[in-house]
């Protein structure tokens, strides 16, 4: 639907994290943007404390840090959304002081957010030329606008219909269009704030090739991301922030991954390095068996046994049917074929309530719209599932709720000033922990985690991985979906590989490795001899 010229790049080439591209030497050390001693205070917090940051022409500069380190504040001050309490910003040697995003854009600083801030209900061309449409006899010259738009997008590898609505295209294409607009509005500095969070790997590579091209043209790119792989794949230099202070600035080549993580966390952390310890063969009988389970247009029929105390990883690209599989397992989507049996007894899942009654729990990928109940307190969010199972006639007393909430806040180290605080004000990592607490309070047998570490900071990330390992030691079965292959490899007993909504392979024991998973995905289609080859 989107780019016809989308380069067909193998996954393996992307995953080779050491593909650090050479810095465009042509631009030398010309400093494009210099921030010195920047400070920003919020009531009770020093969000930015004397932060220095320099961006050269023709480099990709990764801005990293845990949630709350000050990355977004820095960007907001830079683009004029926030005022500053101290320090100076200069662009091309000239002091600047943008008062809003539009002025920042005029000065040459363009920003593209994860959620594209263009208008989905206007055409691509209108979005590109909004406020500066080519005119003819005083009217908008749509034909000229479309021609210009097509010419503008061609270097980006986008040969799309510029009269179509922006909202009809994928997020990846929308982002490229936003970048094209920003660059066309004479941006010399391009800020990409978490641009890859909702892109699949092909789309990420498409974005990266655009970034490389712009870098070669001398654009300075500030790249904010959670994905360390991507930092090593594209960035030239890294600046790490922690608690509003700059920890340091390094060239990517001089900063091994472990050192980077230590800079971000300010502590030693071995859990992030993915080493897989063999837990030995688990011989327990299957707790839950799915046979020929599937749903048309959602997931092709598959077989799956979940044994007590094992971790099943589900790997695959975005759109390969990972989330759909999870929703089938949990009963959110109803299967139209196959059957389930638990401890030998057949049953039907007509909805989440049935699954919950059988001891299932599910932490969805999209925490905000499917997980948390934003305006309810942390306490209420934690006890919600437990209360739902007890039914409305048997309310937990306030003291019981407090007791449960306090216990899990302590056990999972959920950082909140107060369990009565609305959960929407917590950081992503703490929201995720509260959702885990919601299910752990039920003492589930099987917990399904869809991207449990997406969009959360490195510290909470490591804690959640530790928790996953601890839970399965205590006999809980886990089904974990993740795009972080390293993670899956490190904790899974078995790995299911999905391609095109089909379970194409199953890896277990010593077979499990990142390379093996990638080989399976790249092989693109079921191979003979795979244990879970999809039935027709």
């Amino acid at each position: 639907m989107a780019a016809t010229t989308m380069p067909d790049i193998g996954i393996a080439s992307y995953n080779g994290a050491q593909a650090a591209a050479p810095t465009a030497v042509a631009f030398g050390d010309a400093t494009l943007l210099a921030i010195t001693g920047l400070s920003k205070n919020f009531p009770g917090v020093k969000a930015l404390d004397q932060v220095d940051f320099t961006l050269r022409a023709g480099e990709v500069h990764a801005l990293l840090g845990e949630n709350g380190a000050g990355k977004s504040t820095l960007i907001k001050v830079l683009t004029g959304i926030y005022g500053r309490d101290g320090g100076s910003i200069s662009l091309n040697g000239q002091e600047i002081n943008a008062r809003d995003v539009a002025e920042a854009q005029r000065l040459g600083i363009g920003t593209v957010y994860q959620e594209v801030n263009l208008l989905p209900n206007l055409s691509v061309a209108e979005n590109l030329y909004l406020g500066r449409q080519p005119r003819r006899f005083g009217l908008v010259d749509s034909r000229a606008m479309r021609r210009q738009a097509e010419a503008l997008l061609r270097p980006y590898g986008l040969e799309i219909d510029c009269d179509a609505l922006l909202g009809d295209y994928s997020v990846a294409v929308q982002q490229l269009i936003a970048i094209a607009r920003a660059i066309d509005l004479s941006a010399r500095v391009l800020i990409l704030d978490e641009p890859t969070a909702s892109l699949d790997r092909h789309e990420v590579e498409l974005l990266f090739s655009t970034m490389r091209r712009l870098r070669a043209q001398g654009v300075g790119i500030i790249f904010v991301t959670h994905f360390l792989d991507q930092v090593y794949a594209i960035a030239d230099r890294i600046t790490v922030l922690r608690n509003g202070k700059r920890v340091g600035e390094r060239a990517v080549a001089d900063l091994p991954r472990l050192d980077l993580v230590q800079m971000m966390l300010g502590k030693e952390l071995s859990a992030v390095e993915s080493t897989r310890e063999d837990r030995g063969q688990k011989l327990a009988e299957a707790g839950v068996s799915y046979r020929g389970y599937g749903r048309k247009r959602l997931v092709q029929p598959f077989d799956l046994d979940i044994r007590p105390g094992e971790v099943i990883g589900i790997a695959g690209l975005l759109g390969s049917g990972r989330t759909e599989t999870a929703k089938l397992l949990f009963g959110i989507e109803r299967a139209d074929c196959g059957r389930i049996s638990i401890a030998g007894k057949d049953l039907r899942l007509r909805g989440p309530r049935d699954a919950i009654a059988q001891g299932f729990g599910f932490c969805p990928e999209d925490r905000k719209t499917e997980g948390i109940v934003g305006e309810l307190s942390v306490r209420e969010n934690i006890i919600l599932a437990l209360q739902a199972r007890r039914g409305w006639l048997k309310p937990l007393s306030r003291r019981e709720m407090r007791e449960i909430a306090d216990r899990f806040v302590a056990r999972l180290d959920i950082r909140t000033s107060d369990v009565e605080k609305p959960i929407q004000f917590l950081s992503g990592g703490n929201q995720q922990k509260a959702l885990l607490a919601r299910w752990l309070a039920m003492d589930p047998k099987i917990l399904i985690l869809d991207e449990p570490t997406r969009g959360i900071d490195v510290g909470a990330h490591a804690e959640i991985i530790r928790l996953i390992e601890e839970l399965c030691r205590h006999g809980m079965s886990l089904v974990v979906i993740s795009s972080e292959l390293d993670e899956i490899v490190s904790y899974s007993d078995r790995v299911i590989v999905l391609v095109d909504r089909q379970h194409i392979g199953m890896l277990q024991g010593n077979e499990i490795s990142t390379a093996a998973i990638i080989r399976h995905i790249a092989a693109d289609g079921p191979k003979p001899g795979d244990s879970t080859q999809a039935a027709e």
Partner: protein, 350 residues
């Protein structure tokens, strides 16, 4: 403390409503100095303030059920029509020789049935609440007319009339029924987990479903309860005029009920709800109506004055006053840098 705080809304959060009520009552008193005079006659309390509560009863009762529905992020436009149906049922039954309890109980059951119908459309068929309840809003008056066969059915049964004109401990019966409904509703929805589920569904229905909340049942209960409150209000309204008027009973009252809920601070986007404040909202509306009536203005003014007062109350609830106050303070600080800003005086929680 914990049991009490469960029922009593945080008074700070209730500040806009309390101020609004005080202002309207003050205005009433200025217009009509005898406003707060209450006298006891034949063990009935009389006086303008009693009248406010008495006349406000139907809307207050409606607003109780409406609060629950709005908290689920829904709305019930059919309550006025359900009032008409309930009145028609009660009047017809009493005239065909049934006793007052039978007539009233059947009317209430019909109200619950109407609510369940709405709940079915919203919870099971996933129709948007505003459209789903519009169906019964339109059809309901037709149904009521079919029951009354197009006539205004009058009745003389003293027991049924007493629902509107009787009194208990000196209080007019409608006021007693309102307080009773309020108490029962708070008890049913706040001492069980229903209130929590309603709020959770209103804020995020998907998350609630995934957490195992039986969202369909909870939604159906909310709409059914709203139907029940509508039928209670309908019986009172019929008893008040000693007859069932299918065309005019409860006409436009759904809008007053929605207004009462909004004034009470429950968001139309669902979520946190406060039953007691909706009740206050209904009283504010009635105190306004009474005040305009007492002032001798033409009734036409009523609607305009009401609109103005409502705008003021809604602005008080929004963040706007705090914003304006902040701007002003910033402006003052800029012009007089040595002056320290006063403490946090910005009120008006949303």
């Amino acid at each position: 403390m914990s049991t009490l705080s469960k029922f009593a809304p945080n008074w700070r959060q209730a500040l806009p409503q309390i101020i609004a009520l005080a202002a309207v009552l003050l205005a009433d008193w200025l217009i009509f100095p005898d406003f707060f005079q209450v006298r006891l006659q034949d063990s009935h309390l009389f006086g303008s303030i009693v009248d406010v509560f008495n006349r406000g009863a139907p809307v207050a009762i409606l607003s109780i059920g409406m609060t629950l529905v709005i908290a689920t992020r829904g709305i019930d436009l059919s309550v006025g029509a359900v009032m008409a149906i309930a009145g028609a049922v009660a009047a017809t039954l009493i005239n065909s020789g049934h006793s007052m309890p039978v007539a009233v109980l059947v009317a209430l059951a019909v109200g619950i049935g109407c609510g369940l119908w709405n709940g079915l459309l919203v919870a099971v068929l996933d129709i948007q609440p505003i459209v789903a309840t519009l169906i019964l809003m339109v059809a309901g008056r037709g149904i009521a007319q079919l029951i009354t066969e197009g006539q205004i059915v009058t009745f003389n049964d003293p027991d049924l009339i007493a629902v509107a004109t009787g009194s208990f401990l000196g209080l007019p019966m409608p006021v007693v029924i309102t307080l009773l409904m309020l108490a029962i509703t708070i008890l049913l929805f706040r001492t069980t987990a229903l209130g929590l589920f309603i709020e959770a569904i209103g804020i995020n229905r998907l998350s609630s479903t995934y957490a195992g909340v039986n969202t369909r049942i909870v939604l159906a209960i909310a709409y059914a309860w709203c139907g029940l409150t509508a039928s209670v209000a309908g019986v009172i309204a019929a008893a008040n005029i000693k007859g069932a008027d299918a065309n005019n009973a409860g006409l436009w009252l759904e809008l007053d009920a929605i207004l009462a809920v909004v004034i009470g601070g429950t968001s139309l986007f669902g979520g946190r709800f406060r039953l007691f404040l909706s009740f206050i909202g209904a009283i504010i509306i009635q105190a306004m109506n009474t005040g305009i009536l007492l002032s001798g203005f033409k009734p036409e003014f009523n609607l305009i004055v009401k609109a103005i007062v409502i705008i003021v109350i809604l602005i008080m609830q929004s963040d706007a006053p705090a914003l304006v106050l902040n701007r002003y303070r910033l402006w003052r600080e800029r012009n007089a840098p040595r002056r320290t800003a006063p403490g946090n005086t910005a009120g008006g929680a949303a």
